[in-house]
């Protein structure tokens, strides 16, 4: 039995990826749950287009912000504030952005409490009036589906092909490397797109998730996001020797995105260090685009920043994937062009 134990220890020690997963994963989960797993809202950004009413004292939670726009709906649609307070006759109206679920709930609580204490304020939630969790989660889940198909399924498909020797066979056939690359990922692109449409239609039919914005804008965001996820899938496949390794690596890239992209826990509630990790993850930006377009009806310029950052990530990851794949398929050719 002792020999068996020694053998198993040696085997685990030799498998560095599994070892890394056994050590890194618990540490990562601890850090994530310690610093990121928080629904607490510490700040609510409030805009007063007509100025802060005289003599008003704001609770600590509310942070007045300057905005470039004056129309309350536009301020919220462009994400310049979480709440807009305007005058309505003798009283006030607090318009709350319902697409930021936890912030919105906290804001509703603050203003309802103020109203109960005699402050003449009426609360009105826009974009997600019932503050439905599903309305906020479904756009992000569509991104998760793209991530799953793009990264995990693609990497498995490419690794399977390499293990079977088909990839090498394709390399020596009269096909250009780009034919092989595009031909390899195009089906996954289509499958991911169909999956996303299914998620959105089911979300709309079963959970009444609104779709306030342009479907083409969301489609453009999805295409950009798919470039990143497919690129990540190909990258994973090029550093994996078998499907087991590909699954391990894919999970290691999926999990942080699920936890740190704002899909479940609001980015604003995370500790600064962990939040910055979230800013490096593509799902963070797709999430912002999907929620913005679907719930708030955000036009392109309102989500231009996440679009730009997603495009930069797409160029970097997809470009690297193309280079790695070429090197994998035809090493000497890649070297000669390098």
């Amino acid at each position: 039995m002792w020999a068996m134990v020694i053998k198993e220890v040696r085997q685990v020690r030799r498998d560095r990826r599994t070892l890394a997963m056994m050590i890194v994963m618990p540490i990562m989960l601890l850090v994530v749950f310690g610093y990121a797993a928080s629904f607490d809202v510490t700040t609510i950004r409030v805009a007063f287009p007509e100025g802060i009413p005289d003599g008003a004292s704001l609770p600590d939670l509310l942070e007045p912000v300057e905005t470039s726009r004056t129309e309350p709906d536009e301020i919220l649609r462009y994400g310049e504030a979480d709440v807009v307070v305007t005058a309505d006759g003798p009283g006030l109206v607090a318009l709350v952005d319902g697409s930021q679920l936890f912030t919105a709930r906290a804001a509703v609580q603050v203003f309802t409490s103020a109203s109960a204490q005699g402050v003449p304020v009426v609360t009105d939630v826009l974009f997600n009036p019932e503050l439905d969790t599903s309305a906020v989660l479904v756009p992000g889940l569509a991104g998760l589906v793209l991530l799953f198909v793009g990264s995990l399924i693609t990497s498995l498909g490419v690794v399977r092909e390499r293990q079977a020797g088909t990839l090498e066979q394709l390399a020596v056939m009269p096909l250009r490397p780009r034919d092989v690359f595009v031909g390899k990922i195009a089906p996954y692109f289509v499958v991911a797109a169909i999956d996303m449409v299914i998620v959105l239609v089911v979300g709309w039919l079963l959970f009444d998730v609104p779709f306030a914005g342009s479907i083409w804008l969301l489609a453009l965001g999805a295409v950009l996001f798919l470039f990143v996820t497919l690129g990540a899938g190909v990258l994973i496949s090029t550093v994996s020797e078998n499907q087991g390794q590909a699954i391990q690596l894919a999970i290691m890239t999926l999990l942080p995105q699920v936890l740190l992209s704002g899909l479940i826990f609001p980015l604003e509630s995370m500790a600064a260090g962990v939040r910055w990790i979230g800013y490096l993850l593509p799902l963070t930006y797709f999430n912002q685009i999907a929620r913005g377009v679907m719930l708030r009806g955000a036009p392109f310029d309102a989500v231009a920043l996440p679009f730009a950052l997603l495009a930069v990530l797409g160029l970097a990851v997809f470009g690297l994937a193309v280079l790695r794949f070429r090197a994998d398929l035809a090493p000497s050719r890649a070297q000669s062009t390098a």
């Binding site: 020596v172 056939m173 009269p174 000497s332 050719r333 000669s336």
Partner: protein, 249 residues
Amino acid sequence: MIEMHQVSKRFDTGLLAVSDLDLEVEASEIVAVIGPSGCGKSTVLRLIAGLDVPTTGSVSVAGHEVRGPDPSVGVVFQEPRLMPWLSVERNVSFGLARHEGDQSLVAEAIERVGLSAFAGALPKELSGGMASRTAIARALVTKPPVLLLDEPFSSLDAFTRVDLQEHLLEVWSWYRPTMFLVTHDIDEALVLADRVVVFGGRPGSIQTEVIVDLPRPRDRTDRSFHSFQDLAMGELRRSSGERFASRVS
């Protein structure tokens, strides 16, 4: 047609597979490489195919330095590596759709390997020999000037192997490509090749070469064939023995 000059290949693991190799193969020549397992035979083939990069030295085909896989070099691997959901015809024509007049080439390549009656069959409906013939037809469909064969018949039974060797010679007489064959089988090398290169040692290097100046088709029962067998076997034993001795020392 194929030139290798001072070629060495060291893998990422640090293993030096081939060292200071010089080799030339003439146009339309059939060269077979034999040698013990792990002596770097397949590495040499992969370097010519552009699937691996030499660490030092140069490899060129038809006067052009090899910079990756090229349509002018066809490769047949040990396993047929057919697409299971495609028929023989579709496997052979895979990747050719953008060229005109391919269908006649596909039909001719299939006919040359004697599979016309099975053009519509799926790989699961083929015997091992037929699958190997399909792989050969696929490599030949563009009539590449160079054909590399990496132990293409090693997983087949002796009878099928002999049958396919004859087929391969018929295919060669079709347009006389330059052939570079890696094999474990001395008989196969002597039946097919104009020249047999005996590989050995670690790192792998050429131990000797045997010019097989027998007329084709070669009779395996002929006395002169046997003398070549003895010669090649002696050289192979010598190279294996040296390798064993170097490992022990």
